[in-house]
């Protein structure tokens, strides 16, 4: 296990922005106690690298994309688990699902045991402002939050938790801080920065847009 972890050799870490840090950490916490029973479905090498960094001792990743497979193998992760191998899988994390992977949903539902968990990170209405969206472009198209909600509900999953990251209040604090900086009130700017962080996690609904949305879904017993 330690050998795998030691293969992270990138000299300087380009840390993701705050929204992605929160999202990846949230998935890591949810799956920490059963990481070896979790399959991570990812849409870019960036997702795979960040999840492997959080659980360097293990990692089962699923993606149809060669670039993701290459990134996972380069970092010493387990070879990509085929989606047929569902023995012992009790949870799935799905980071920014692509619309063309929608057919995976029914398979996940079928194979997860009762009470099995599906953790999803999906872009919200403000996701276009995420720098990572420009840096790590996906092959295909992101599945929208509203379409995911409809599809997951239709297949039978039940929503347990849902919250947004970097909503309008946080954006407002940010711009207020910028304004303070422009009039040379650096102490106010710092206070606004912490106002932004305090407001960073927001309850999510259609009227409260956010950059990223984290959701926990459960297969009914």
């Amino acid at each position: 296990m330690k050998e795998k972890a030691k293969r992270f050799t990138s000299p300087i870490m380009r840390r993701p922005g705050l929204a992605y840090q929160h999202a990846f950490d949230w998935v890591a916490v949810q799956t920490a106690d059963h990481f070896d029973q979790t399959v991570h479905m990812v849409s870019t090498p960036f997702h795979a690298v960040e999840m492997m960094r959080r659980h360097p001792q293990q990692g089962s990743f699923q993606s149809e994309l060669p670039a993701v497979e290459e990134a996972v193998q380069k970092l010493g992760g387990d070879s990509m688990r085929t989606i047929n191998d569902w023995s012992n899988v009790t949870a799935v994390s799905w980071i920014e699902p692509r619309r063309q992977d929608a057919d995976m949903l029914s398979k996940i539902f079928r194979h997860l045991p009762p009470k099995g968990q599906l953790y999803v990170v999906v872009g919200g209405l403000l996701s276009r402002f995420l720098a990572e969206r420009r840096t790590h472009q996906i092959e295909g198209e992101y599945w929208s939050a509203s379409a995911i909600h409809n599809a997951f509900t239709a297949v039978g999953f039940q929503l347990q938790t849902s919250f947004g990251l970097h909503g309008l209040e946080a954006v407002a604090w940010h711009y207020l801080g910028e304004l303070c900086g422009r009039i040379n009130r650096d102490h106010w700017r710092d206070r606004c920065h912490y106002g932004m962080r305090r407001a960073f996690i927001t309850s999510y609904n259609a009227w409260r847009p956010a950059a990223l949305i984290c959701q926990a879904w459960e297969k009914p017993a």
Binding site: P11, I12, V29, A32, R185, D186, R191
Partner: protein
């Protein structure tokens, strides 16, 4: 403060540090736990963090070993050194060395501080005729210094170290921690090459940034200069951390300017002590952000003050009392007060504190540990530790809550419901409700 009180405090800190070690089933062994800080918090990642805590932990255990002459303390210093040796990545960086920004390697000044701890350990072992054992610790530190700092962060044109390879910037307190490590490396290598080539030019740059005026800011050193622009934020804590490197330069060269710079810097810090012995968090040209005010980290400032020969230590007595008063029944020392006041900058000591005001953090407690270890009397064994459950009423975003710490767990409850829980030794929090996800 009585030596009995200090000895009991050190014993309890040692026992507490043992409780927050990540176990062997985690990817890496080492001291873990949640982190709260001015810049950011790391409440989710709680695994071993190979950062500046190792400077204080290793130095503290070496001091306790010297003061008590009991071998078991050297063994603990060696165990901490082993954490770093085993946690070094092939490129010289350390696993999860970014403290409040974890889980990422290449943390600054954290890796340099860890190097400093390793080199102090190596030097102590060599002095104790354990040179063969010492090699591996020195080798680990030198590999990090060569590959990461000299190889990637040295800016030959500017004659100083950058904070990131691609951004022309200097962060004085980080550069000073690094130069302390370079001085220790020079002692190990018995060559002043790195001092002359890297450390002194970097410190020249730090001195150039030090302010003479306005009077209110005399002696202050700005947080950074980025792309040629000074960031006008003056952190007393970070300015204090510049002082040891300046004193090393004075001892090496005998030039007064280094000692004068150190005195001015510490003078700025001392002038900002309030009547209770607390420091503001940040001073700006046009204002102050007072909160959060440090408690455990204040011990690092005390350590620095004690290095200055003619420093009036009676000015710091209140601060020492604050550090000791911050020790919890569970053994750790709280990080600070007023984390919930970062936006309003209004604080009431009579109201329930923000839950982050209750959290002891290994990367802050180490600073109290090493300072208090230095206050132990010679040849007196430490008393047995006395750890108890710690329960503190607090609030979570305005809701009444209780922070509880036992030997094996830290948790936060609101209305009987657990919102946050860390099983000590585990790399991630077991529970972190969205309202506690606060970076």
């Amino acid at each position: 403060m009585s030596s009995t009180r200090i000895a009991q405090a050190v014993s309890n800190l040692d026992a507490w540090l043992d409780t927050v070690r990540a176990d062997q089933s985690a990817p890496y062994a080492g001291y873990g736990g949640p982190v709260v800080h001015w810049w950011q918090n790391s409440l989710n990642y709680t695994g071993a963090s190979l950062d500046w805590r190792y400077e204080g932990i290793i130095s503290g255990y070496l001091t306790v070993w010297r003061r008590t002459a009991a071998e078991k303390w050297l063994i603990k210093a060696v165990r901490a050194g082993d954490d770093l040796v085993q946690g070094q990545l092939p490129n010289g960086n350390f696993h999860c060395s970014s403290f409040e920004l974890n889980p990422y390697p290449a943390g600054t000044p954290h890796e340099a501080a860890a190097d400093l701890g390793l080199l102090r350990l190596a030097l102590a072992l060599r002095t104790a005729d354990k040179g063969a054992e010492a090699e591996r610790y020195a080798h680990t530190a030198l590999k990090n210094l060569k590959e990461h700092y000299l190889g990637r962060l040295w800016d030959a044109e500017a004659g100083s170290f950058r904070d990131q390879p691609h951004v022309p910037a200097i962060v004085p307190n980080k550069a000073c921690t690094l130069t302390e490590a370079l001085f220790a490396a020079a002692e190990w290598q018995q060559s002043s090459e790195w001092i002359d080539r890297y450390a002194l030019p970097t410190l020249e740059e730090v001195l150039r940034l030090q302010l003479d005026n306005p009077k209110r800011l005399r002696g202050a050193i700005p947080q950074s200069r980025m792309r040629g622009e000074i960031v006008p934020a003056y952190f007393p804590f970070y300015i204090a951390r510049c002082v040891p490197a300046l004193l090393l330069a004075y001892r090496h060269t005998g030039e007064e300017k280094w000692r004068d710079g150190a005195k001015e810097a510490l003078g700025f810090v001392r002038r900002h002590l309030d009547d209770d012995g607390r420091l503001p968090q940040v001073v700006y040209p046009d204002g102050v952000n007072r909160y959060p005010q440090w408690v455990a980290p204040l011990a690092d400032v005390l350590r620095v003050a004690s290095l200055m020969e003619d420093e009036p230590m009676n000015a710091w007595q209140q601060s020492e009392s604050l550090v000791l008063a911050g020790q919890l029944p569970s053994g750790g020392i709280v990080t600070g007060r007023g984390f919930g006041s970062q936006v309003s900058q209004r604080f009431s000591a009579t109201e329930r504190p923000d839950f982050r005001d209750c959290i002891p953090v290994a990367g802050w407690v180490d600073k109290a540990f090493t300072y208090l270890a230095g206050r132990l009397p010679e040849n007196t064994p430490l008393p047995s530790p006395e750890l108890h459950i710690s329960e503190r009423p607090c609030h979570l975003r305005g809701r009444s809550a209780v922070w509880t710490e036992t030997i094996d767990c830290m948790s936060l409850q609101v209305n009987g419901q657990i919102c946050y829980q860390w099983q000590k030794g585990r790399p991630w929090a077991a529970v972190a409700a969205p309202e506690v996800m606060w970076k």
